[in-house]
């Protein structure tokens, strides 16, 4: 039952996606069915010509012959136009779906992208959409043909000689019954083969990626052990499945083999002619049409796998389209941002069990946080299970224009989550963040990002010229403005040293190091001129080899801007205007470095711990407590 329900749901998703071209593919299917019927008519004409010739009563035969030729031409035209119509509909639908999917991507909450989704996006938008091909361009037409063709053939044969038609249909029915029963058993076997296939793929990946270890240990053990075992299992599973089908499939094929059909029909037909129940010419009809009958219903069986692939693809496409979008502000309700550009955090909370939509965004934020602090993600995971864990529990703070605010705290304190909320990767589940007195949720997205810039992840450069990369937010910027930004970000010289300078296409003409990419991203932010910048020190210093150059760029960025920085190395933020100390989702201290140090609280402990543990010598191996045992 559940299997059937699932199948129903899957075909529902498919129907939903096919809707825009439903009319065209239905017409195409009708044309194809008509073409299949017409394909039978020349043979019928031939039999009737034979009948007239043998009666020898001078009945005209040429008109029949020309009619047959005409029908053939018509059939060809119908068939080709049905195919053209269906395939063009498929190409148009693919384009339409890709547009819809990419448009939806551009309204998903940014948190959705944080966990690294390129593989998934590519699979769905390109491969899954392509996998709909059979369902769109072929399935309906093939089905219509497989019904219309046999109906016409069997009808005609029954009219010619019903006993022979009965025998022919019986042969086809035997083979068809076997085939249908095999299809059921094949489904059972497929799960096992798929499992063996998955294991083999994993084993190959392990062998390829871990080849140095495999070579070190497998040299005297005959190849890669896991690969060998997985390959053997895969072949075994496949062979055993085939073994089951071997005999029934052989019987089915032998039953409808052309030689068998010809033999049965002629043997029986000869007997009937001898008995005077049938005319010899009747046999011609059966020799021509009976032989191909089974093949006419074959296409829909061959397509089983393609159909399942298309259904799986449709479900994944549907699921992506159903991902809740980041709530957009209706233009009418959008409010202009006031001045001054103060950012206010008012009792900001972020948790995991409020609504399903929010939970999805929260999970994505957690995934993103893996990069920065894995502990937060782990706690989020654990919290998700028990239901209702708040990562941020009421944070209130003010970021005054032109000040530097540092966010510090141990891993898992909620630093990354808070920064992402300020950049609106997700929305708070409680409280509010206001910019210039207006809630972020009421500011038009583009308006918001013209005021708030962020450098929270590794720099992303687009496959276009370096000039275009820097001027991404200000496409009209002149060369001088672009170069000024690059100079300020300490990357101008490096760009000029490239063979094509600012026209260098990133990824095609030159590969840039992480530090260089980061400085181009900083130049981009400088040129964009957002008055507020949110920054993660960890991603800014992703490349220790160009640390000093990046620091020069950041210093430039700090001039006259409101800066929020997630700080990991406390000594870099000793001059900050305000330090916010987070612990377990709460704001436990705030103030300037000297005051916090003097207060001797959480910040002071962090400071001393970090400056005491900065070198390895301070942690002799013996001092680490033994591991807690296995659970």
């Amino acid at each position: 039952m559940t299997v059937r329900d699932e199948a129903g749901a899957a075909s529902g998703a498919l129907d939903e996606l096919r809707r825009p071209v439903r009319g065209r593919i239905t017409v195409a299917a009708g044309l194809q069915a008509l073409a299949t019927v017409l394909a039978v008519t020349p043979t019928v004409a031939l039999v009737e010509i034979a009948r007239r010739l043998l009666r020898d009563e001078g009945e005209p035969v040429w008109p029949l012959a020309w009619t047959a030729v005409g029908l053939l031409v018509a059939r060809f035209a119908l068939y080709a136009s049905a195919s053209l119509l269906a395939h063009l509909a498929d190409a148009d639908l693919a384009h339409l779906l890709r547009r819809r999917l990419t448009e939806h991507l551009s309204v998903l909450p940014l948190a959705w992208f944080a966990g690294g989704v390129s593989g998934r996006v590519r699979t769905i938008v390109q491969d899954d959409v392509a996998d709909l091909h059979h369902a769109v361009a072929h399935a309906r037409g093939d089905l219509a043909s497989a019904i219309a063709g046999p109906v016409v053939v069997v009808g005609y044969l029954a009219w010619v000689s019903w006993p022979l038609a009965l025998v022919t249909v019986a042969l086809v029915a035997v083979a068809q019954t076997i085939r249908m029963r095999l299809a059921v058993r094949a489904t059972e076997q497929r799960a096992r083969i798929a499992a063996a296939n998955t294991e083999l793929t994993a084993a190959v990946l392990e062998t390829v990626r871990g080849i140095s270890v495999v070579k070190a240990f497998g040299g005297d053990r005959g190849g890669a052990p896991r690969f060998a075992a997985a390959a053997a299992d895969y072949v075994d599973a496949d062979e055993q499945a085939q073994q089951i089908f071997l005999r029934p499939r052989g019987v089915a094929r032998a039953t409808v083999a052309p030689a068998t059909v010809v033999f049965v029909v002629t043997a029986l037909g000869t007997a009937m002619v001898a008995a005077g129940w049938s005319e010899p010419v009747d046999l011609v009809a059966f020799a021509l049409l009976g032989v191909g009958l089974f093949e006419q219903i074959t296409p829909i069986y061959l397509a089983q796998e393609l159909r399942e692939t298309a259904q799986g693809a449709a479900e994944r496409i549907g699921a992506l389209l159903d991902e809740p979008a980041s709530p957009a502000v209706e233009p009418a309700r959008a409010r202009p941002v006031g001045a001054p550009l103060t950012m206010e955090l008012d009792d900001v909370r972020f948790g995991y069990d409020v609504r399903a939509a929010v939970a999805a965004a929260a999970a994505a934020v957690a995934a993103a946080a893996v990069v920065a602090d894995a502990d937060a993600a782990a706690q989020a995971d654990a919290g998700g299970g028990s239901g209702g864990r708040e990562v941020l529990r009421g944070i209130s703070a003010t970021l005054a224009p032109g000040t530097v605010t540092a966010l510090v705290g141990p891993s898992g304190a909620g630093k990354s989550t808070l920064a992402m909320l300020l950049a609106r990767f997700a929305d708070p589940t409680g409280g509010a963040i206001r910019l210039g007195g207006v809630d972020l949720r009421e500011i038009d997205r583009d308006e918001l990002y013209r005021r708030v810039g962020f450098l929270l992840q590794d720099a992303v450069l687009l496959r276009r010229s370096i000039r275009a990369n820097i001027a991404l937010a200000v496409p009209t910027a002149g060369d001088e403005a672009v170069r000024a930004a690059a100079r300020a970000a300490a990357i101008d010289e490096r760009i000029l040293a490239l063979p094509r300078g600012y026209d260098t296409v990133v990824g095609e003409d030159a590969q840039l190091s992480g530090g260089e990419a980061q400085r181009i991203a900083i130049a981009r932010t400088l040129l964009a001129g957002t008055p507020i910048v949110i920054l993660d020190e960890a991603t800014a210093f992703a490349d220790p080899d160009s640390e000093a150059a990046i620091q020069d760029a950041l210093a430039e960025l700090a001039v006259g801007r409101t800066l929020l920085v997630i700080a990991h190395r406390l000594y870099t933020i000793t001059e900050a205007d305000q330090i916010l100390v987070l612990d377990d989702g709460r704001l436990v201290e705030r103030g300037r470095h000297d005051d916090l140090l003097a207060a001797g609280g959480r910040y002071a402990r962090l400071w001393h711990a970090q400056n005491g543990e900065a070198t390895v010598e301070a942690v002799p191996p013996g001092t680490v407590a033994p591991a807690g045992g296995p659970r």
């Binding site: 012959a65 063009l88 890709r98 992303v460 937010a473 960890a538 900065a614």
Partner: protein, 618 residues
Amino acid sequence: MTGGLRGLVPAGQHRALGRYLVAVVVYAVSEGVAFGVLVPLLIDLIDGRTGRAGWWLVPLTAAAAVGWVAHYYLGSRALRLSTAWRRDLYTRIGEQLVRLPLGWFDGPRAGEVPQLVVGDAARVAGSVFLAQALLGALLTPVTIAVFLLAYDWRLGLAALVAAPVVVAALVLGGRLSARTEAAQHAATAQAGGRLVEFACAQPTLRATGNTAAGRAALDEALTAQHRAARREVVGSLPGEYLGELGLQLAFTALLLSGLALATDDALRPARMIALVVLGISLLRPLDAVVGLTGDLRGCQASARRIDDLLTVPPLPEPTAAPASTAARAEGAAARATGASLAEDQATGAHGGPPGEAGIELVDVRFAYPGGPEVLGGLTLSIPAGRTTALVGTSGAGKTTVTKLIARFHDVDAGAVRVGGVDVRDLPSAELLGRVALVFQDVYLFDATVEDNIRFGNPDATPDQVRDAARRARVDTIVDRLPDGWASPVGEGGRLLSGGERQRVAIARALCKDAPIVLLDEATASLDTENEAAVYAALAELAADRTVLIIAHRLDTIVRADQIAVLDGGRVLECGPHADLLARDGRYAAFWRERERARGWRLRHDDAPTGQPAPEPAG
């Protein structure tokens, strides 16, 4: 016609395959004979000689019976042959994978291996079944054609007249569709690239505050893809339908010429009808030929890909391992005192006393195939049991040095010696047994933490695994994971942070207990706790071992026994930190720049001078 397929047939299967193909031919011919016999039968029947017609049923029965036997026999034969073929291919691919040079796995082809194994091997072995279908679709019509020509050459020619038209149409259509197909593939690849960029760059694109602008490149690529797809639909029409048209021409020619002959009294109606039936039977199987030849081309492409893999020359292995056996025995004895893990190594493949673990690179020259020279006469001595740090700008050849020591590739000139023996004279299992690799792109499997550590040494006892984990500070990671030691780490170790992945990799190396460690320090910034844990793990690893580390962090560099500064594929300076500073050369300049970075403070009113601020207290 068999393309690269014949070359991949397993040794010893050629005769069995030959017998099978003969059986397939017999079956295909018998199908044709059944139709051939139908002609005299129909003629006798129409002419009223029912008794004689009955006799023709005898050969017809025989032909049908041959077909039944063949169906039964061929099915099991084909399955046995193709299964044996697949097993053989997997064995050969598996053996070849461990023989390939490690450097091959850095190349672009390594990514194709899963597809090669799962898709291509099955397709090549499946050609056994394909042969049955294809030979049937070709030889049955040929047999019928022989009968038809023998019965009446005029109708025979009429049936065959379309053949050249069909062939020409297929060739032309094939070329046309190949062109539009290639254009469509290119457009799809282009759109795919833009799509991934669009997804990865979402935060960046939205940060521009100009949503529409970010879509332009993607929309253009999608539109181009759509245009190419429509062109392909039209372009593939001739290839798909000209063959069909040819068959219909043949049908028309048969019908009209048969009728013409009959109305001219050149052919008796009974005979004409029987022969037209035969002619149509000739055409029917040809419908499938187009599709089947396409499948055959797919099989051949698969065979070529597999053959390409199987014919990659392995790095030459020494025929005998001269000094190594003695060294191994000696090494096991020497290490027994110092190492707790190495005592019960069953294979002994990773033995070697510290003295055996010195590394020499002598005047090494190396270029990647088709690339510029990376190392141009590099000489470096890495003393046993000490830590050597490699420092230099990206592209200086640091990674290449480590890869040549592990013999990912062979040097173009000069020599790499481990324990005094040229790596080319060491069996690869022995060399890799002595060396542990802790690279940045170290691969963690989607298995438990414990399995990932054990992967370094499958023979390790649970205690040894736990011990290695504790020493690499992996136990603190395990404490926070929901299922402890049994927690999976996700594909590629996704569920762990960068620092944690590196700790697991170090635990793996500790568990392997190799005397030589080649390590690429993570460039990604670590949080404070992780940084301390990684340092502690590194300190464990460095004790008693030869460590060559591509170093990025000042602490790591300063603590090395020896620092080698690489530039342009040569060693520019080499010595301990203090000596190099005193020399006031490249290293000293590098050091000053990094020191300046260390004293940096973030200040909003700061001019970008970056003058060193006072050292933090503490």
